[in-house]
Amino acid sequence: MPRVLAFLKDFLKNLSKKPATIKYPFEPPSQLPEGFRGKISIDYNKCVGCGLCARVCPAFAIEMVQVGFREVSGKKIPVRKPRVDVGKCLFCAQCAEVCPAKAITLTKKFELASEKKEDLIVQP
């Protein structure tokens, strides 16, 4: 085949196709896959405060903070819940995997740019 015509087939095929690009952010991004790992979300009602998530986090993004006290047979025991710095998070979902109460899920939210650092902190 002459050199000029080498890409003719591709050229004709592409003529009838829609552009592959989308006008993000004016158009919504294409369908996110099942099991996409986005911003962390914690159901603090389910959380039992075991602290496993903080111990497995490879980026040290999860910290256990004291939220109050619980009374067990007359003694006051501090209750700790995870506080996540999403700025440090590397979206591996290991915390969600180890959570015994299934309180941690990784949502499909990925547009995390923010003007304030405080917006990127998930806390009780």
Partner: protein, 390 residues
């Protein structure tokens, strides 16, 4: 007259900081001196301070493109340290993701190579086809770059029947395209004129300078970890090592396309032969590894990747040593660049598929005296002797 041209560390042609000093006579390069160490991140040290499970995700971040192969090598290492067997199905899933990653890495490189020789049409076409692989990886793992599929004792995500069909469909489409590029590359004059005989590396030199991966195989050396020391199921998959006797950049292009075709074949084999069963062995999140030492090597898209680990009975590794393929290819790259034209520098540097962030090692430089040295074991011993007198 020899002129010294410094290129880098910040240079528009290279995406990562790396410095080369070219000694040129007219248009010809006489000597090359590389300088690495601009992007040292201390990953090996960071790994010593984390538990085995945390290290898994650190190892994934060693390289941006071949991230899965690092975790694969790391989990194989830890499983050898613990003398652990993984379920059969997990091996198949690991192999599918490994080969898909090789496909995406090689196609990315192919696009970059065509871009470096100024053939941007093919660059766009190849990268369009690479999207098939990226979509499949996203479907399997949830993300496009860091898949987090492997875990110690198996894999974290299963492949459903529906996904299997999509993989087979994608592979069929891709195979057709790959065969087209395989036919096109040695014929198309635009490619041949820029790559045939450029960046030569003879078989003896490749062996002498310890090149790795497709760079070595393009110099007609039949060496591939998947064939020489099969891990996972490469023996059962009847893997074949691809070589080329061209010993130049065109050879490297052809070897990589051949490897892509082979990868497609392996993925199809894996999908068709995958047994049912569990995908992982459950381990507690923080576990202790008995005192042991082990070494593991796998074939990364860029060549042989080596992990060496020492465990001391605690939940953290005592030492993890990583040897990435680009580091092995740097001496060969300097040899390739000798007697080449300045205009061929980009394609020859790109031909080893460099990944400099994996390559960086600690180098000490005394600016005042102009002296530099690396931090080797004899140097440490010398320091200890100097300080403690023993």
């Amino acid at each position: 007259m020899t002129i010294r041209i410094p290129v880098g560390p910040q240079h528009p042609a290279l995406k990562e900081p790396e410095r080369f000093i070219f000694y040129v006579e007219g248009e010809q390069i006489v000597k090359v001196i590389p300088r690495i160490g601009f992007n040292h991140r201390g990953i090996e040290k960071a790994m010593e301070e984390r538990t085995y499970l945390q290290d898994l995700y650190i190892s994934e971040r060693v390289c941006g493109i071949c991230s899965n192969v690092h975790t694969a090598c790391y989990v194989l290492l830890v499983e050898r340290l613990m003398n652990m067997e993984i379920p059969e199905r997990a091996k198949y899933i690991r192999m599918i993701v490994l080969e898909l990653e090789r496909l995406h890495s090689h196609l990315l490189w192919l696009g970059v190579a065509f871009h470096e020789i100024g053939f941007d049409t093919l660059f766009y076409l190849v990268w369009r086809d690479r999207e098939i692989v990226m979509d499949l990886l996203e479907l399997i793992s949830g993300n496009r770059v860091n898949y987090a599929t492997n875990t110690i004792g198996g894999v974290r995500r299963d492949i459903s029947e529906e996904t299997k069909h999509k993989i087979l469909k994608g592979m069929k489409l891709l195979l057709e395209r790959l065969k087209y590029y395989r036919r096109l590359s040695p014929e198309e004059q635009t490619i041949v004129k820029r790559t045939l005989g450029v960046g030569p590396l003879s078989t003896q030199d490749a062996k002498r300078l310890c090149a790795a991966g497709p760079t070595l195989r393009a110099s007609n050396v039949k060496s591939d970890v998947r064939g020489d020391e099969p891990y996972l199921l490469y023996k059962e998959a009847e893997f074949q090592t691809m070589v080329s006797d061209l010993c130049d950049v065109l050879g490297r292009i052809l070897v990589r396309i051949d490897e892509c075709i082979e990868a497609v074949r392996i993925i199809e084999w894996c999908v068709k032969n995958m047994p049912d069963g569990p995908i992982r062995q459950k381990l507690p999140p923080i576990f202790k590894v008995p005192e042991n030492q082990a070494y593991r090597r796998v074939e990364a898209p860029r060549g042989e990747l080596v992990y060496y680990g020492v465990s001391d009975g605690s939940e953290k590794p005592y030492r993890i040593k990583i040897r990435t393929p680009t580091l092995a290819n740097i001496p060969a790259l300097c040899k390739m660049l000798e007697n080449q034209h300045i205009a061929d520098i980009p394609i020859v540097v790109a031909s080893i598929d460099p990944c400099f962030s994996c390559t960086d090692r600690l180098v000490f430089i005394d600016i005042e005296k102009g002296k530099k040295w690396s931090c080797s074991m004899p140097y440490f011993k010398h320091l200890i002797k100097k300080k403690f007198g023993r």
